[in-house]
Structures are given as structure tokens and as C-alpha cells.
């Protein structure tokens, strides 16, 4: 037996590494000073957020953190990669085997089983060749598998998901993100039949169909066959399905093998527990999916967390009881808004159903209320679940109004404002009440981020965040707190408000804008500042597309725009000509070389497939650009908050694997958006196949070729906090792709805040990618034509900024070194001791020159 050398206290062994185990450990560590917890998980990492597993499809680096278990806490011993092989309640020990195959025995005073469940595979021939979707490993394997299939087959892989429940649909969504075509096979006539009634389910069927998922409903496969020409999923009747990959998501089987012959099983497996989560054997508890409460095991996180809290309470001497399963569920699938809670099927005696259905619009909403139509018993939402976050906390309570008023038809789709009682639960995953949120706001949480950190609200499935935000805002309003979005002291407007204000008033100069919106509105004393002036400059540039250094614009421009070049630390500038898609002729390379040599410029290939020339003085810029413009170069806007470049791979023209001409598309995009000013810099990427050599998914707009067209990804970002772009639409033809990008980019420009890149913008945008999808693909705001028009006008008015500068001598005054000595360069006339050189410091030598 291994000696436990940790400080004293009760020994609690936890078997399992899912969210239930994690919550239990967290609660115990918070409540008990003296305790020795040993957690055994067979996965190689600490417990992670299995609920958020689908996130790992879009971001392979996402470790799905659950909130850290303190690694150095002496009270906790984490056994990862360690499988428990037996328990002995009489001796109060368990045996375990680690990754190296070494066995050990561990003593405990209390044992908590949180072993979860296995994904069930259908009992048909070939089932062993199906993959499942339960763990981080599963997702990583799926990703590798799809990438490999794409490469070896040279076409989009065909995947089938067996099972159209919550998990199956999430897996299907994940496979689409990975770039596969997906067929969902489901034995019932509609998907998610555990959560949705027939009308809701059929509405979701249609939505899935509309998004390009193939559905095989009311059928069960009979075999998965391996044939030389590929795999075949056989059906008893109807056509068989050619597939490359099959995921089984037909349900879960509790992992109860540890208790066989020792603990009383539930009727459908698992360990039977009472209301205190105790099993049939004293000092042995069971929580999560493996716990069978009143004959049922449940694969949802909220009840698992509740059970964990109950056991933690019991182990601390409390009397907590498990109230029964909260079956509320929300589907986490891009573009598909589905939720159900409580008694959605109206099985309670006398229950009434209030329904709004719009089959053509793909919306179905139902509230179930008590016989007197006052108490909320449950609900189902498909297509538009916006009322769900506000209504869910009211489950079992009296509705503050007539039931129908809470459906989108009455409220125009916006969530209803509700005054929730303090004890209403907002976050069911973390059990956070409205009152707890209000207290946190009173204690000084000024925004949603702080509120999440302080209360844990919305940190698991996240579906309660809109409700949490509403409670927070109401409380802040009550306290007289104001969340200021003002740009600076000179305007009370945020950037997005400024954009709309300038757009609607058609003002064209800074002094007009100050006179109208400034604080104070007097251009003689309100001169603006380095925050608001560049914002106004950017907004005017987007809306009017006039020369940015024009008479009343020049002084508004930020450091780099002011000189149409990038200021370096010594006050000299770097020059970056545009090289669309990195495609350049030898003749143009020669011109760059000549200019660099003549002006003694340091040259470096940038990260954006261009060439940067460093060390130019302000007054040299016009002459340098005269040479470059004459050779056919134009400004690369490396200095601007604008499109920088469109990175591309070499594409189908040369590459053995390329399926589309990525270079041509990159040039098209670069020429379409060059010079368009935006809230922050934008980078695009175009890859010619799924190998993704252009790293398009790290870009604000990423385009990846498919055999059928283009997949469009948005919101990717490098920088300090990298973000992977998310799939917005699949298999687009050229024209649709360009239109969607037009809409996306201009919607971003109109609504983002100052210096907010697309990733952060989408994160903060209510509804996130789903909302963007609605606006860009479905035109839900009816502004698509306006958005496209902005790009169309921009293309008409685009003028290379350097060509425009050079052709007007009046414009060249902005590049004089000294107003009273335009010709002076280098050190001032009194010698280097007083007037330091205009260029501080010597030229930085190249390596090898030293």
C-alpha cells in the first residue's frame, strides 16, 4: 500500500476526470482545510471541460480548461494516466494501474465514483471501425483523420454520424468545421427527439437540411462494410451510403464495471444512488453520468455538478440532497439556435402549450405553462432561442406576464426584459443565482469578464451569458454606474456610434463633427486628441474615400498615416510597396534593389509576403516613391489601419495538391479592399487546398479552397492573443465569396470599436459568429446591399495614396524636414554637437557587414 505522507485529514478518493470530479474537488478544497484528496483519471491530463469539447474542433490548442485545480495544493494528489482497476469497500482500498503498467493500492475513508460513461457503438457488424466523440483524444483523432482523408482522396471526405441527438449533432458540426460533408443518420423521424417534440424536431430537420447536412431519418444502419473501393454503410432498406468515416453517437453506457457485484446497479446500468448521492455501500458515493437516480442516468453537466455539490456538502457534514435532473439543454452548433428546458413535452397534468411556429422562417417556439397559464413549466426553442436565457431561470415560477408575450413573435425576437427574483438561477452549470450576480456587481465587478472571474457565471457552457449580462446591466443602472464607451473626453460616442453619427449626418470635416457631437461642441477649444482624431480620420476615409492627407484631414492622421510610411524608433520610416499575393516580377524586384541601394536602406522580407525598406528620412519619401510608382508599385498601406495583405500559397497553377487558384483569388481580394480604412489592421489569407499553407485560419478573413469552391473563415488573429478563424460558409462560388466578404468586412468596420480586431469584435458582439452568420449569409438586418455598396464605392474611388501625393506639389509640403529649411537633411547647420542629426544614430548594418 502506498504511504500517504500528506498532512492529516480524511482521505477521499475520486475516480474519474470529468466535470463532476472536477467540481467535487473544487468544492471540497474550498470548504475543508484538512483533507487528503486523491483523484484518479485515465486520461493523460487533469479534468477538463468535456461540455465544451466541440470548441476543440475549431481550436486544436484549446485545452478546455475548467478553472485550475491548484497543482501545488498539498491537499490534492492528481493521478493522471492512471486507471482504477478495483475497489474494496470492506478494506476501504482501491487498486490502480499507471501508464507504465505499474499497479498500486490506495487507502480511502470515502470513495466517490465519477467514472462517467462510454460512447455506445451500434451493435452491428463493422462497428469497431466507427469512431466516437467523447474526449479530447477523440476530437484530435477526428481532425487528423479528416485531414488525412482530404489529402489522400483529393476531395472532400464524406462522413456519417450515427445518432442525431445533442452529441451527434455537435459531432456533425465539428466534422463540417474540419471540412467534411456530413450525413446524420437517426433512427427517429426527427433529430434531438429526447429534447424536441415533433414540430420542433421537424423544424430542426429543415434547418439542418438548409445548412447542407444530409439527413437519413427513421433508419438504422445494418452494417459498416470495408470494400476495396471504400466503405459502405448498409441499410436494411433504401440506398446504402458510401462513406469515408463513421462517427457513432447513439448514446452512452455508464461505466459501472468497477462496482460489479459490489454496488447495487441502476435498472439501466450505473450505480443506484439515493437523494444524498450515496450508493448501496456506506462511504461510497456516485456522481455524474454513472449515477443512477430514480432509475435514470443522465448525460448532462448541470445535474452532474449538482450531484458533486451534494456529495461535497455531505462530506463536510451537511445534509444537501439532489433535487432530481435538470434536463435543460442548449445545442452548441454554429447557426443553429436550439434549446429546451423543463417539461417541454407538456406531460404535466393539465399543462398548456403556447406555440409560435414559422415553418418557412425556420422558427418554432413553445412555452409550457400550468393549467392556470401562470406558472412556467418548460419550453422548446428551435431557430430562435433568444427568449431562452431569460426564461429558463423562471422555471417553476409565475410568469410576469402572458405566456405568448415572451415568444419572439410578440417581442420582435428580442429577449424580454424580466425582473428576476434574487434566487432565480441564471447559470445552471455553476449554480449562480441572479442575487449572487447582483452582489458581485455591488462589490465592484464592472464588466462581464470580472463577473465571470468572480462568480464563475457562464464559464462552462456559456448559454446563460446573455441573461447574466442583462442582470449585470440592470444592477449597474440601479446603482447609477455607467459603463462608459466614450472614445475620450472630446466625444461621448464610441467608435461604432461615431461611425453611425457621421454616416447619417454626412459630415465631412473634423470641425463640423466637433461642432455637432463634441464635448464641448466648440472647435476653438475642443481640439480633439490622439485617440479621437485618428478614429474620425478612419471613419471619414471609409465613408468618403477622399485623399487622407487633404487640407482638413492631414492633422487627424495617426503617426504612420501622416507620413504614408511606418515610423521607426529613431524617427526614420520604413517603406512597404504593395506586392499582391506576394507575386512579383524580377524587374520589379530589381527596382526595389536599386532604390534600397541608392538610399542606403535596410531591406527585410516581412511576415506578409512583402519587402520592407527601412531607414528612409521623411523628406526622402517622395523621391523614393517617385521611383517606385514609376515602376508600377503602389502603397501597401503598411502604415494604415486597413487591409495589409492577402497571404496566399502558390495554388493550383503550380502545386500538385492545389484545387483552386489561390493566387488569383488573393490578388482579387487585395485589389478589392486595398486602402479601405478599418478600426484596426486587417489581414486576409487564401489557401489553395485543405493543407492550408497560407495559414488562412489565422487571418481576419481566411479563404480555403475546396474541390467545390471556397470555404470562408472569419475572425482569426495572430498577435498577443491568437484566435482561430471560424467557418462562416462553405463551398462558395467566387461571386458569393466576394459578396460575403464585402458584407463581413463592412459590418465589422461599421460596428467595431477603436483598435478592435475582428476576433475580439466577434467575441464581444452579442450572438457572436451566429449573429455574424445571420447578418452576412441570411441578411437578417436587411443591410447586405448597403454593406456591399460601401465596397463597390470604395473600388470606384480608390486611388493609390502615393501616386495621388506625388502629382500635386502642394501635397509634398507634408514631407519637408524643416519648414524653414526644406532642403536641409541630416545634421542641422550648426554641426552635430547641438542639432542632433535628424536621423538619430547610424544606419543599422546588415549581418555579415559587421
Amino acid at each position: 500500500m502506498s504511504a500517504d505522507e500528506r498532512p492529516g485529514g480524511q482521505r477521499i478518493a475520486v475516480v474519474g476526470g470529468g466535470p463532476a470530479a472536477h467540481r467535487l474537488v473544487e468544492a471540497l478544497l474550498a470548504r475543508r482545510e484538512e483533507v487528503r484528496i486523491s483523484l484518479f483519471t485515465e486520461e493523460p491530463w487533469a479534468p477538463y471541460d468535456r461540455v465544451a469539447l466541440s470548441r476543440r474542433f475549431t481550436d486544436p490548442q484549446d485545452a478546455l480548461p475548467l478553472g485550475l485545480l491548484p497543482a501545488e495544493d498539498a491537499r490534492l494528489e492528481l493521478h493522471t494516466g492512471c486507471r482504477v482497476t478495483g475497489i474494496d469497500p470492506a478494506a476501504r482500498t482501491l487498486t490502480a494501474v499507471d501508464g507504465a503498467g505499474d499497479g498500486s493500492t490506495h487507502a480511502w475513508d470515502e470513495l466517490v465514483l465519477a467514472t462517467g460513461s462510454d460512447a455506445a457503438r451500434p451493435d452491428i457488424p463493422g462497428a469497431q471501425d466507427m469512431v466516437v466523440y467523447r474526449t479530447i483524444d477523440d476530437v484530435d483523432r477526428l481532425r487528423d483523420h479528416v485531414a488525412e482523408l482530404t489529402a489522400t482522396l483529393g476531395r472532400t471526405p464524406r462522413a456519417a454520424v450515427i445518432g442525431g441527438g445533442l452529441l451527434g449533432l455537435e459531432a456533425a458540426g465539428g466534422l463540417r468545421v474540419l471540412g467534411a460533408d456530413v450525413t446524420v443518420v437517426h433512427s427517429r423521424p426527427w433529430v434531438m427527439n429526447a429534447q424536441l417534440d415533433e414540430f420542433g424536431g421537424r423544424t430542426l430537420n429543415r434547418l439542418l437540411d438548409g445548412q447542407g447536412y444530409a439527413l437519413r431519418l427513421g433508419e438504422r444502419p445494418t452494417a459498416l462494410e470495408q470494400r476495396p473501393e471504400g466503405r459502405l454503410l448498409r441499410f436494411g432498406s433504401g440506398a446504402d451510403l458510401e462513406v469515408d468515416l463513421v462517427v457513432a453517437a447513439t448514446g452512452i453506457t455508464p461505466r459501472d464495471e468497477l462496482g460489479a457485484g459490489i454496488l447495487e446497479p441502476g435498472p439501466r446500468g450505473g450505480f443506484a444512488i439515493d437523494d444524498s448521492c450515496a450508493t448501496s455501500v456506506p462511504h461510497v458515493w456516485a456522481i455524474g453520468e454513472v449515477a443512477s437516480h430514480r432509475g435514470e442516468c443522465m448525460g448532462l453537466v448541470a445535474p452532474a455538478n449538482t450531484m458533486a455539490e451534494v456529495v461535497a456538502d455531505r462530506l463536510c457534514g451537511g445534509t444537501g440532497t439532489f433535487p432530481g435532473f435538470d434536463t435543460a439543454a442548449k445545442l452548441k452548433l454554429s447557426g443553429l439556435d436550439v434549446a429546451s428546458f423543463g417539461d417541454g413535452f407538456a406531460r404535466s397534468p393539465g399543462a398548456l402549450e403556447v406555440v409560435y411556429a414559422d415553418p418557412t422562417g425556420g422558427v418554432y417556439q413553445k412555452l409550457v405553462v400550468s393549467e392556470d397559464a401562470r406558472t412556467l413549466l418548460g419550453g422548446i426553442f428551435v431557430g430562435d432561442a433568444s427568449p431562452y436565457p431569460s426564461l429558463r431561470p423562471l422555471l417553476g415560477r409565475e410568469l410576469p406576464g402572458e405566456a405568448g408575450a415572451f415568444l419572439s413573435a410578440a417581442g420582435g425576437g428580442s429577449p424580454v426584459d424580466l425582473d428576476l427574483p434574487d434566487d432565480a438561477q441564471i447559470c445552471s452549470c455553476r449554480d449562480v443565482s441572479a442575487g449572487a450576480l447582483r452582489r458581485a456587481v455591488c462589490e465592484g465587478c464592472p464588466d462581464l469578464g470580472a463577473l465571470k472571474a468572480c462568480t464563475g457565471v457562464g464559464t462552462q457552457c456559456g448559454s446563460c451569458l446573455p441573461a447574466a449580462q442583462k442582470v449585470m446591466e440592470q444592477q449597474m443602472a440601479e446603482l447609477g454606474m455607467e459603463v462608459s464607451t466614450a472614445l475620450c473626453e472630446h466625444f461621448a460616442l464610441s467608435r461604432s456610434e461615431m461611425f453611425e453619427a457621421v454616416r447619417s449626418t454626412r459630415l465631412t470635416t473634423f470641425s463640423q463633427i466637433i461642432s455637432r457631437f463634441g464635448t464641448p461642441a466648440d472647435p476653438r477649444v475642443n481640439l480633439g486628441c490622439d485617440l479621437c482624431k485618428p478614429v474620425v480620420a478612419s471613419v471619414l476615409a471609409t465613408l468618403h474615400g477622399e485623399y487622407i492627407l487633404g487640407a482638413d484631414r492631414g492633422g487627424l492622421q495617426d503617426t504612420n498615416d501622416r507620413a504614408l510610411a511606418n515610423m521607426q524608433k529613431d524617427g526614420t520610416y520604413s517603406v512597404v510597396p504593395r506586392i499582391p499575393a506576394g507575386e512579383i516580377t524580377p524587374a520589379k524586384l530589381a527596382v526595389i534593389a536599386e532604390v534600397a541601394q541608392e538610399y542606403g536602406l535596410y531591406t527585410k522580407i516581412t511576415g506578409a509576403q512583402r519587402i520592407d525598406l527601412f531607414g528612409a528620412r521623411l523628406e526622402q519619401l517622395p523621391a523614393i516613391w517617385a521611383r517606385l510608382v514609376a515602376a508600377g508599385f503602389e502603397s501597401g498601406q503598411a502604415y494604415g489601419k486597413a487591409l495589409r495583405n492577402v497571404k496566399s500559397c502558390v495554388g493550383s497553377t503550380w502545386c500538385r495538391f492545389g484545387v483552386q487558384d489561390s493566387v488569383a483569388m488573393a490578388i482579387t481580394l487585395e485589389e478589392r479592399f486595398r486602402g479601405l480604412r478599418s478600426p484596426h489592421k486587417m489581414k486576409f489569407g487564401v489557401s489553395g487546398c485543405a493543407r492550408e499553407c497560407a495559414e488562412a485560419r489565422g487571418k481576419d478573413v481566411g479563404v480555403i479552397a475546396t474541390p467545390e469552391g471556397w470555404n470562408l473563415y472569419v475572425g482569426g488573429n495572430g498577435g498577443a492573443t491568437p484566435a482561430h478563424a471560424q467557418l462562416l460558409a462553405k463551398d462558395l462560388d467566387d461571386e458569393t465569396l466576394l459578396r460575403y466578404i464585402d458584407r463581413y468586412v463592412v459590418y465589422y468596420i461599421r460596428t467595431a470599436e477603436r483598435l478592435q480586431r475582428t476576433a475580439r469584435w466577434m467575441e464581444e458582439l452579442p450572438g457572436g459568429i451566429d449573429h455574424v452568420h445571420d447578418v452576412v449569409v441570411k441578411d437578417s438586418l436587411g443591410i447586405a446591399a448597403d454593406l456591399e455598396q460601401v465596397v463597390a464605392e470604395h473600388q470606384l474611388t480608390y486611388r493609390d495614396e502615393w501616386a495621388a501625393t506625388l502629382e500635386d506639389p502642394e501635397r509634398l509640403r507634408r514631407f519637408r524636414g524643416f519648414v524653414n529649411a526644406p532642403e536641409v537633411e541630416g545634421p542641422g547647420p550648426d554641426g552635430p554637437d547641438r542639432g542632433r542629426p535628424v536621423v538619430a544614430g547610424p544606419r543599422i548594418p546588415l549581418r555579415g557587414e559587421l
Binding site: 481640439l527 486628441c529 503617426t559 515610423m567 507634408r814 547647420p829 542639432g835 542632433r836
Partner: protein, 132 residues
């Protein structure tokens, strides 16, 4: 208004006629016609070998501070953004955006920094800077 009108620097810096005025005006150096400066667009000038940044306000008052950025020591201040804080004119460094009061040289964002100021006057629509 055209801001590129050629002007004769040598003519405008002609020595004063009498010894008395010469003593008083010795350090006032005419720099450029007022109209050569665009309001709120700072420009660098050489004054007795010093590099200064000139700012013309909407009231036609002209203010001058050193062209040298106190923080980075690069000669860049004239390329910063002119603005105001509570109605008092300011100039922001183009490199790291420290904000200085143009009239006092006080840094509003970093109490450890200060920028040198130069007296300026406008005579016959010619900008003159006092530099010692």
C-alpha cells in the same frame, strides 16, 4: 490658402537696424510666414541650430516646443497629433503617445517627463521664435 508659397528666409532674417533693437531682438529668429503653417499640423523648424516643433492654433497663436521626444530622444515631436485637454492645447508624441501641454511643457501622462518650450511671437504675420 496655399501653404507652399516660397519665402525668402535670408530676407526675413535680416539683422535689425539699431544696436538697441538688436540687443532686444538678438535671440528672436524669424522662422517663416504664419500662412505657411497649417493650423493644427505641427512642423519642425531650425532655430539657431535647435530643432523645434511649431504648432499654429486656430486663433493664429503659435506655440513651440522641442522637436526632441523626451522619452525616446528621437527628433519626431512635430509629427505628433495636436489636441487639447480640458481646453488646453497639447501635443502627443508620435512614438509612444505621451501627451504634453504645449504652453508649459508639462507631460500629462508621465509626471517624470517634461518637454522644453520656446517663446513665440507673430510679427507682421511672420513667426518668430526666441532661442538662446
Amino acid at each position: 490658402m496655399t501653404l507652399t508659397a516660397p519665402f525668402d528666409l535670408a530676407a526675413s532674417t535680416a539683422p535689425a537696424a539699431t544696436a538697441a533693437t538688436a540687443a532686444a531682438d538678438a535671440a528672436w529668429q524669424p522662422v517663416c510666414p504664419l500662412d505657411v503653417l497649417e493650423p493644427l499640423w505641427a512642423e519642425a523648424a531650425l532655430v539657431h541650430g535647435e530643432q523645434v516643433a511649431l504648432v499654429r492654433l486656430p486663433s493664429d497663436e503659435v506655440l513651440a516646443v522641442s522637436h526632441r521626444d523626451p522619452q525616446s530622444e528621437a527628433y519626431v515631436m512635430a509629427r505628433g497629433i495636436v489636441g487639447s485637454r480640458n481646453g488646453i492645447p497639447t501635443l502627443a508624441s508620435p512614438l509612444h503617445k505621451q501627451v504634453y501641454e504645449l504652453s508649459t511643457g508639462r507631460c500629462l501622462t508621465d509626471p517624470d517627463l517634461r518637454i522644453r518650450t520656446f517663446p513665440v511671437r507673430v510679427r507682421d504675420r511672420v513667426v518668430e521664435v526666441l532661442a538662446a
